[in-house]
Symmetry: D2
Subunit: 395 residues, 4 copies
C-alpha cells in the first residue's frame, strides 16, 4: 500500500497549478461575463489561454492512450482536481466534458476515417462536440425506456426523436446521439451511438434549456430530430453496441466529474477559510467560533474522504478494469455530488449576503453543482445498484 | 386551546386562493420572463392584476390597524401563506416586502405629514420603496458595527456611507435608511431611520448586485451615499430610535417571511407529488418507491410543524406583544428558512433533469430561497440568541 | 385560534409538577436500582408515592370518560409531558402504558362484567396488565401477517401461538391478546382481542427478552401460548373486531407516548443546559461555545415543534375524531421518536464521559427511547402511510 | 499509488479471519453472558481461545518492533478490523485496549527493568493493565486542567487524586497513571506517567462506573488515590514527559480504535443485509424497498470511506511519523466514531423489535460504541484542532 503520487503526476500537478494561477484564474470572471452576456462564443481571452496550454503540452491530459497524454486514470485524477478549481479550468486544458467522453469513445471505438474526421480536430482543439442521450419523456437513468429511433433507409440512418440536456450543442460540430436501432432486441442491445453533424437537416436545436437561470455558453439544449439522415458509416462501433460504449465512457467520465467536484469543494473551503479569518462579528472572528470551525473541519474530512475514494476507484479501474470498478464508481458518484453541495452551502453561509451574490464565485458553483446529483444517474439509482450488490453477497 | 381559524380568515383564505388560481398563477411565467429580460419594470399584466385585487378589497391585508385591512398577525398569516405559493403573489395583493415593513413603520411611527406624503401612495399601490440597512463591510447581524453616518447640518441630515442589498431600490420612490446619528451613544441608541427620496442628489445607485445569477426587477442594490442631504423632518420617530423601530418592524416581517416560505414549500411539495404520481422508472412509479415516500412524508411533517410554530408565534405576538414573542420569532426564522431548502431540494431530485431547469418553478424557488437563511439575521445569530435565553433559565 | 391552556389544565399542571418535584424525582434512582437488582417487584417507595397520588386525586388522569378523570386528550397531554420527565412518572399517577391502553379499551368496549372484573382493579391501581400482540416471526407493522390463533372449542377459545414484547407481563394479572379468530375473513376482520388471565394454563412466560441490556421490571416478555383456554366471554367487543379496537386504542396511546417523549427531551435539555453553564474547558464555559449553543437552540426548536404538533393532533382527535386525526397521529409518532434521540444524543455529548455513565439519567433515557422508533409501527411504515395520503390528493 | 495489501498482510488476514470463524464467534455469547453475570473474570472458554491464538502465533500483532509481531500500522490495521467484528476479538489475540497502549509505551519508553517486570508478562498474556487518566472533575480533552498530584517524598512518589474511567482496573496488575509532577511547569511539561501496581495501598478502587447499564468485566473504574506511594523508579520516561508519552500512545491507539470500529460497522452491515434479504413485510422483502437500499448503500459508502481514511492515516504515520499524521488521526477519530453509530442505528431499525433486544449483538454494539465519540477526545475538540490547522494555511 502506497498513497504517494508518481513523480510524473507530482511534476504535472506543479505545472497545471502554476498555469491555473498564472493564466486561468485571472480571466475567470471575464469569461463568465462574456459567455453570460453574449451567448455561446468562446471569448478571445479563453482562446488565447487554450493556445498557451496546448503550446506548453498541458493538453488532452485526460486521454490515456497514444491519442492523448498517456496518463492513466489515477495519474490524471489529481490534475483534474486542480482544473476543477475553476469553472473554466478543464476547458483551458482541452479536458472539458462532454468532449472528453466523446474523444475517448472515438479513440476506442472509432474507425480510422471517423478518427481522422472527428477525433483529430477535437484533439487539436478546433472542434467542439455534444452528447445527445437524455430525453424529456423518459427516465434517463433507465435506459430501457429510450425512445428516439434510428431507422435504416438505404445507406442512411433516419433519426426521429426528442432529446434535451444535449449539453454544449450550441457551437458543436457534431453530436454523438444515443438512439434505438432495434426496439425488439433485448434491452441492452437496442441502442446504438451515431455521429450526427449538427448541420444535418433535421437536427433541430430548439433552445438551450434554461438551467438555474442560465442559458449561456453551449447550453443544455433541447433537440428535435426530425427525419435526420446520416450515413450508415457514422455509427460508432457496431449496431446495438450503444450501451456497451456508454459503459466504457461512463467510468472515466465519472472519475473526471468527481475529481473536478473535489476541486470545486477545495476552492469553496479555501474561500470559506479566508473569509472566516477576516470577518469579525459578535465579539470574535468567525474563525474562532466553534460552529464555523465545525463546518471547516467537516469539510476537510469530507473532501479528503472523497478524494481517497475517487483515487481508489481510479486505481481499481486502471488495474482491474472498468467493469470491476463499477461499484466503486457508483459510490464516488453519489458521495462527491452530495459532498460538494454541503461544503458550498457552508461557504455561502460563512459569506453572508456576499455568499448569495455573484461577486464571489461560490453561489455560481453551488447552483451549477446541483445537477451533479442528477446527471449520469441520480443518487437514488446509484444507491439502488450499490445496495443490490451488497445484498447479493448474502443471498 | 383551539386550532381553528376564525370565520373571517377562512373566508378570506377562500377569496385569496381563488384569486391566485384565477389571476396570479396564469401570469407567473410571463411576469418573470419580462422582469428577467427587460429589467426593472412592473409588467403590464401584473399591473392589471394588482388593480383587480385592489378593486376586490384584497389589498393591504398585512397591515393591522386602520391604515390597513385590520387583520392581526395570526389572522393574516394563513393568507400570507397562500400568496407565498407564487413569487408574484404578495405583490399582486400589495403585500410585498420590503414595502410592507416600510408601510408598517410609517403607520406606527410616521408623522401625519410623513404618512400623507409617503405612506398613502404606498397604500394606494402607487409608490414603491426600499429599506437600506445592510453594509458590505460590516456584519449585518451585529448592528453595533453599523458605519453609515448622518450628520446634522442646519435643517438637514447629510448622509455618507456604503450600503448594499437595498432590495427593490430600482423603481423605488424612497428608501428608509438606517444610519448612525450618534456614534458615541450606547450601542442601541446610535442609529436612526431616515426617509431618503431616491432622487436626492448623493443617493447613488451603483448597481443591482447579481444574486444567484439574477439582477432583474427592483434589484438587491448597492448604494453609495455621498453627501446626501435630506431634511431633518425626514427622520422616522426620534433620533437614536433606529433600533427600536427595527425591532418593531422585524416581528411581523418575519412572520410574513415565514408564512410565505411555507407557501413556497407547499407548492414544491404539490409539484413533487404530482411528478411522483406520473413518473415511471425502474419498474414502478416514483410514488411507489419508499425513499420518495419518505421525502414526501418528511416534507409534510416539516411543513406542518413550521406552520404551527409560525401561527403560534403570530398568536403570541398578537396576544402578549412583539417583545414577548422574540424567542418564538427567532425560532421560526431558523426553522422555516432551513425547511424550505430541504423540501425544494427533494422536489428538484424528484424531477430529475427537469428539476434543475427553469421550465418548472422549483429551481428558481430553490436558489431564491437560499438567502432566507442569511437575511434578517443568519441562522447562527438566531440560534445563539435562542440558546442564550434557554441557558439563562438555569443560571 | 387560541394556544392557551384551559384553567383546569393549568391548575393540574401545577399540581402534577409540584408532586413530581416533591415525591417522584427524589425516589427515581432508588426505584430504578431496586427494579434493576431485585427484578420485577414494585418497590415499596413507589407504592407509597402511588398511594399518595391517588389520595390527592392525581389518578387516572389519562382516562377521558366517567371511568376516569374526564379530561380529553388535549387537556391531559400537558400533564402527560410532565409525567414523562421521569421514567417512573406515569406509574406514580397510574398513567403508565400499557395499562392505560388496556383500561381505555375496557372502558370503551368492555361488558359490565368485564369492567367489574378487570377494569375496576386497574383503575384502583391494584392490578397490572399487559398487551400481547407482537410476534417474533411476523412484521408487527403489517397486521395481516398475524399468526397466533384462537379456535373456538365449546365455551372456550383455545389459543396457540408465539408472542414477544408483551411488555410488563411479569406481575400482570391479565394480558389482552390479539389473535386470529377467522383466518379466512378479509384481512382487517381476521383478528380479535381476548382477555387472558396470566395464570391460565398454557400462558407460558418464557422469559423477559433482554432489551438494551435490561430485563428488569415487568419485562418485554416472550410468551408461548400452548392450548391456552379462556372462556368465550373473555372476548373484547365482537369477534373479528380486533383491528378496530386496536385503532381505537392507538390514537390516545400515541398522544401519550409522544407527550411523555417530550417530557424526556425537556429533561435532557434541562440537564444539558445546566452542565453547559458549569463545565469549563478550552478557555470558556461550554455554554459560550457556538456549537453547543446550536445544539441547545435546535433542541428548543425541535421540542417546541413536536409539542405543538402533538397538541394539535390531540385537539383534532378530540374535536374531529380519532379517524380524522390518523395522519396527524402518524406524523407525531415519527417526529417525536426521532427528536428525542437527537436531543438526548446531544445531552450525552455535552456531559462527556459522565454522559455515557448511569450516574446521570441521560444514557438510560437514550437507550430506552430507541425502541420508540420501532414500537407502535416503525418510522418507515408511518412515513409510507403519510406519503400515500399526501400523494392521493393529487391522483 | 497502490492500494493493494502486502502479501504478508493478506496471508495474516486469511489466518485471523479463519480463526475468528472457528474459535471466536462461537464463544462470543457465552463470554458476554459470563462476564455480565459473574463479573470480572476472564471466562475459561476465552482463556482457551487465547492460548490457541498464542500457540498459532496470532499474538501481539499490534506491536510494531521486535517486542511484538513486527508489523507496522498499515499492515496491522486490516487485521485489527477483523478482530473488531467481535467484541471479544481483540482480546482473543492479545490485542485489546488499553493493554495495547500500555505495552506500546512500555516497549518504547520503559527501562529494561520495567520491561522485564511489567511488559513481558503482558506480552505473555499473563498480566492485565489499565490506564488512569480521566478525572471526573476536569475536562479530559483539556490536559492542562489535570489535577491528580504526585509529590516526591524520598525515594517515592506520593499520589493523591480522583480518577474515573480507568477502564479494566478490575483484574489489572498495574495502572499507568497520568499525574501532575510539577504544577508550575509550562502546561505540557506538568504531568508524568507512573506505573502503579493495583495492590499498592492507597490505590482505592471505588466502583466500576455503570456505563450504558453495564458494570461487567474489567469495568470503567473510579479510583481514589489516597497517599498512594510508588518508587521513583516507577516513572515511565522522564519526569514531565507525560504528555509526550501520551502523544506517542495516541496515534497507534486511535488507528486501532478506528479499524475495530470499522469491523463493528461491517458486522452491523452484514447482519442488516441478511435480515433485509429474509424479512417480508407490506408486500415485499425489506431488501427490495428503496429506503432500506439507501441505508445499505450509504453504509457501504461510509464504511469504505472510513477504511481508506484510516489506512491512509496509518500509512502516513508509518512513513512520515506520528507527528506529521496528527491531522489525519484526528479526522479518522471523528469520522469513524460517528459512522459506526449511524450504521448500527440503521441495522437496529431493519431488525425492528429484535434490533433493540440483546438476542442479536447489534443493540449492544450500538450502546457500547456511543462512548467512542467522547473517549480519546470528543468530536468537538478534534474538529476544533482540524479546523485550526486548516485556517492556519490562510493566515
Amino acid at each position: 500500500m502506497d498513497f504517494s503520487l508518481t513523480p510524473k503526476t507530482e511534476q504535472l500537478r506543479k505545472r497545471v497549478s502554476d498555469f491555473m494561477d498564472q493564466y486561468v484564474f485571472p480571466i475567470e470572471k471575464e469569461v463568465q461575463r462574456e459567455i453570460g452576456e453574449s451567448g455561446h462564443t468562446e471569448p478571445q481571452c479563453l482562446k488565447d489561454v487554450r493556445k498557451k496550454a496546448k503550446a506548453e503540452g498541458l493538453w488532452n491530459l485526460f486521454l490515456p492512450g497514444k491519442d492523448g497524454a498517456g496518463l492513466n486514470n489515477h495519474e490524471y485524477a489529481p490534475l483534474c482536481e486542480l482544473m476543477g478549481r475553476s469553472p473554466i479550468g478543464a476547458r483551458a486544458f482541452n479536458c472539458m466534458a462532454p468532449d472528453t467522453g466523446n474523444m475517448e469513445i472515438l479513440s476506442e471505438f472509432g474507425t480510422p476515417e471517423q478518427k481522422k474526421k472527428w477525433l483529430q480536430p477535437c484533439l487539436d482543439g478546433e472542434m467542439r462536440t455534444c452528447f445527445s442521450m437524455t430525453e424529456p419523456d423518459t427516465a434517463g437513468s433507465d435506459p430501457t425506456q429510450l425512445k428516439t429511433r434510428a431507422v435504416r433507409d438505404g445507406d442512411y440512418y433516419v433519426i426521429n426523436g426528442h432529446k434535451w440536456f444535449t449539453s454544449n450543442a450550441i457551437g458543436s460540430s457534431f453530436a454523438i446521439a444515443m438512439v434505438v436501432t432495434d426496439p425488439d432486441a433485448e434491452p441492452h442491445r437496442r441502442a446504438s451511438q451515431i455521429i450526427v453533424p449538427t448541420d444535418t437537416p433535421g437536427f433541430n436545436l430548439v433552445r438551450p434549456v434554461p438551467v438555474m437561470g442560465h442559458t449561456g455558453g453551449g447550453g443544455h439544449c433541447e433537440i428535435i430530430y426530425k427525419d435526420c439522415r446520416v450515413p450508415l458509416t457514422n455509427i460508432l462501433g457496431e449496431e446495438g453496441g450503444g450501451f456497451a460504449i456508454s459503459q466504457a465512457r461512463l467510468g472515466p467520465g465519472r472519475i473526471h466529474h468527481c475529481m473536478r467536484i473535489i476541486g470545486v469543494a477545495e476552492r469553496g473551503l479555501e474561500l470559506m477559510c479566508k473569509r472566516a479569518n477576516t470577518r469579525f462579528t459578535h465579539g470574535s472572528f468567525l474563525a474562532d467560533k466553534a460552529n464555523i470551525q465545525e463546518w471547516i473541519a467537516n469539510s476537510r474530512i469530507e473532501i479528503d474522504s472523497c478524494r481517497l475514494m475517487v483515487m481508489h476507484a481510479a486505481w481499481k479501474m486502471d488495474t482491474a478494469g472498468k467493469r470491476e470498478a463499477r461499484n466503486e464508481i457508483s459510490m464516488i458518484k453519489v458521495m462527491c455530488a452530495n459532498m460538494v453541495m454541503i461544503v458550498l452551502d457552508r461557504a455561502i453561509q460563512v459569506f453572508g449576503a456576499a455568499g448569495v451574490s455573484d461577486d464571489i464565485p461560490i453561489a455560481r458553483m453551488w447552483r451549477d453543482s446541483r445537477s451533479l446529483r442528477i446527471a449520469d444517474g441520480p443518487d437514488e439509482v446509484h444507491r439502488m445498484t450499490i445496495a443490490r450488490r451488497e445484498l447479493r453477497k448474502y443471498k
